[in-house]
C-alpha cells in the first residue's frame, strides 16, 4: 500500500521569492493605479475636455474624483516603493545581468530556428520594455502631482497638456503589455510558468 511508484515529475519552473513579491505587488498596485487614474481622467478627459471621451464607470475606481484621487495617491506608495526596492534587489542580486534582454537574445532573433528560443527572446524584450514605461508613468505622475515643487518635470515635457498625454499613454501601453506578456509567458512555459510567477 505504501510503496507507490513516484510519478514522473516534470521540471517545474521556479522563481525567486523576491520576483514573486514584486510581481504580485505590481498586479495589485497597477490595477488600482489604472482604475483610479481613469476615474481622475473622467473629471476632465485628456482628449476633448469635459465634452471628451469618458471611460465607463465599470472600469473606474473610487466613485468620484476625490475617491479616485485617494486611491491613486495611496496606491502610488505601494507602486513606487515596490519599483524602488525591486531596483535595489535587481542590483544587489545582479539579476540585471541575465534576467533582462541581452545581446544573446538579439542574436537568437536573427539566427535561431528554435521556436522556443525565439519566444524567450521576444518575451524578454517585452518585459524589459515595461520597466522604462513604468518609470515614465511615475515621472510624469510626479510632474502633475507637484508641478511647482518639481517644475523641471513639466518643463521637460514642454507643456501641461503634453505631460498629461504622456502620463495617460501609460494606460494603453500597460494594457497592451499585460496582454502580450501573459500570452508570451503562456507560450513559453504554459500555465505552470504563469503560476510560478505568483506563488
Amino acid at each position: 500500500m505504501t510503496s507507490t511508484v513516484p510519478p514522473k515529475t516534470r521540471n517545474l519552473p521556479t522563481q525567486a521569492i523576491g520576483a514573486k513579491i514584486f510581481h504580485s505587488c505590481n498586479v495589485v498596485s497597477l490595477s488600482i493605479m489604472l482604475t483610479s487614474g481613469l476615474q481622475i481622467y473622467n473629471a476632465n478627459p485628456v482628449f476633448g475636455g469635459r465634452e471628451g471621451l469618458h471611460i465607463p464607470s465599470i472600469f473606474t475606481l473610487g466613485g468620484w474624483l476625490a475617491g479616485g484621487r485617494h486611491w491613486h495617491f495611496a496606491a502610488m506608495w505601494l507602486f513606487s516603493l515596490n519599483l524602488l526596492w525591486y531596483g535595489i534587489y535587481v542590483l544587489i542580486t545582479r539579476r540585471w545581468r541575465h534576467r533582462f534582454i541581452g545581446g544573446n537574445d538579439l542574436r537568437a532573433l536573427q539566427k535561431s530556428q528554435n521556436s522556443k528560443r525565439l519566444i524567450y527572446a521576444w518575451h524578454r524584450i517585452v518585459y524589459t520594455a515595461i520597466i522604462p514605461i513604468l518609470l515614465l508613468a511615475l515621472l510624469t505622475g510626479i510632474g502633475m502631482y507637484k508641478p511647482v515643487q518639481f517644475s523641471w518635470v513639466v518643463d521637460m515635457f514642454g507643456s501641461w497638456q503634453a505631460l498629461r498625454i504622456v502620463h495617460f499613454a501609460s494606460v494603453p501601453m500597460f494594457i497592451i503589455f499585460t496582454i502580450i506578456h501573459s500570452l508570451l509567458g503562456r507560450k513559453a512555459g504554459g500555465s505552470q510558468l504563469t503560476e510560478s510567477m505568483f506563488w
Binding site: 475606481l61 476625490a66 495611496a74 507637484k146 501641461w160 505568483f198
Partner: protein
C-alpha cells in the same frame, strides 16, 4: 493498487498552500474590484493615506521661495474654466468690505479702495485644477501676507479661514497663506477681475489647487486650530493641504 491515490486522499482537506493563495488572490481581487464605480472604501483609503501624503507635501513645500512665472504671451485666456459650486453672488463693490478677524490684535474692515491703495503685485502663474486641467493666468492684487501683517496676528495663529459671499468656505495652513505669491486678486489677465472669476476679490496662488482659491472672499479669520469644517470640498472628501 490502482486506487491507491484515491484511497489515501479521500478524507484529506484539499486546501494546499498553492490553492489557498489562489483562492485568496482571486477573491481579494474581486473584493477590491467590487469597489469599482462605487464609493466603497474611498473614505478609509483617504483617511489612511492623506496624513502621510500631507507630511510629504509639507516637506517638499518651500514656504518663502517664489514659484517660477510665465510670460504674458503664454496666457491662453480660454483655458481657464469657470467652476462654481452654487451660483454667482451679486456684490455691490461700493458697499463691499473685507473683514479680517480671529486671533489678531488689530481686526480690519477694508473697502476696495483701501485694498487697491496697497502695493499691487502681479504674477503670471499656472492655475492647476483638481480635475486635471491647467491654465496660465495673470493675476494682480495684494499679497495676503501684507494684509495679515496689518491685522497683527497673535503668535499662535496656524490657519486662515476664508469665507465667501456665496457661502463657500476654505481653510489654509499659515505658511501657504504667507507665501509671497498668495494674492487677494482683483485683476485677471490685465483687466479688472470679472464677476464669474470672483470679483471684487478672490484668492489666487500658484502653490495650491484651484478649489483652495476661494472667489468673492468677504472674511478672513486667523485661528490657531482647525475646526471640523475644513472647506466646502474638503468636507466632502477632497484633500485639505492640496499643495502643488
Amino acid at each position: 493498487m490502482i486506487n491507491d491515490k484515491k484511497l489515501i486522499r479521500i478524507n484529506r482537506p484539499q486546501l494546499t498552500r498553492r490553492k489557498f493563495l489562489e483562492i485568496s488572490g482571486v477573491s481579494g481581487m474581486g473584493f477590491l474590484m467590487g469597489g469599482c464605480g462605487t464609493p466603497a472604501f474611498e473614505d478609509i483609503v483617504g483617511k489612511l493615506s492623506e496624513p502621510l501624503n500631507q507630511k510629504v507635501e509639507e516637506l517638499v513645500f518651500k514656504p518663502q521661495k517664489p514659484v517660477a512665472e510665465f510670460s504674458f504671451s503664454e496666457i491662453k485666456p480660454e483655458e481657464l474654466i469657470v467652476n462654481s459650486f452654487r451660483s454667482t453672488p451679486i456684490i455691490d463693490t461700493a458697499q463691499y468690505r473685507l473683514i479680517i478677524d480671529g486671533e489678531v490684535n488689530n481686526p480690519l474692515s477694508l473697502s476696495m479702495a483701501e485694498i487697491q491703495a496697497l502695493p499691487l503685485t502681479s504674477m503670471i502663474i499656472r492655475h492647476v485644477c483638481v480635475e486635471g486641467w491647467a491654465a496660465i493666468v495673470q493675476w494682480g492684487g495684494v499679497r495676503l501676507q501684507e494684509i495679515v501683517a496689518l491685522a497683527q496676528p497673535k503668535a499662535n495663529v496656524q490657519y486662515a479661514y476664508f469665507k465667501s459671499a456665496d457661502g463657500y468656505y476654505e481653510s489654509w495652513d499659515i505658511a501657504s497663506t504667507l507665501h509671497p505669491q498668495t494674492l487677494l486678486a482683483y485683476q485677471k489677465n490685465g483687466d479688472p477681475l470679472p464677476i464669474e472669476n470672483g470679483a471684487p476679490l478672490r484668492l489666487a496662488s500658484p502653490i495650491k489647487l484651484g478649489y483652495k482659491q476661494s472667489k468673492w472672499v468677504t472674511r478672513i479669520t486667523l485661528v490657531s486650530y482647525l475646526s471640523l469644517f475644513k472647506g466646502y470640498w474638503e468636507d466632502q472628501g477632497y484633500e485639505w493641504f492640496a499643495g502643488l
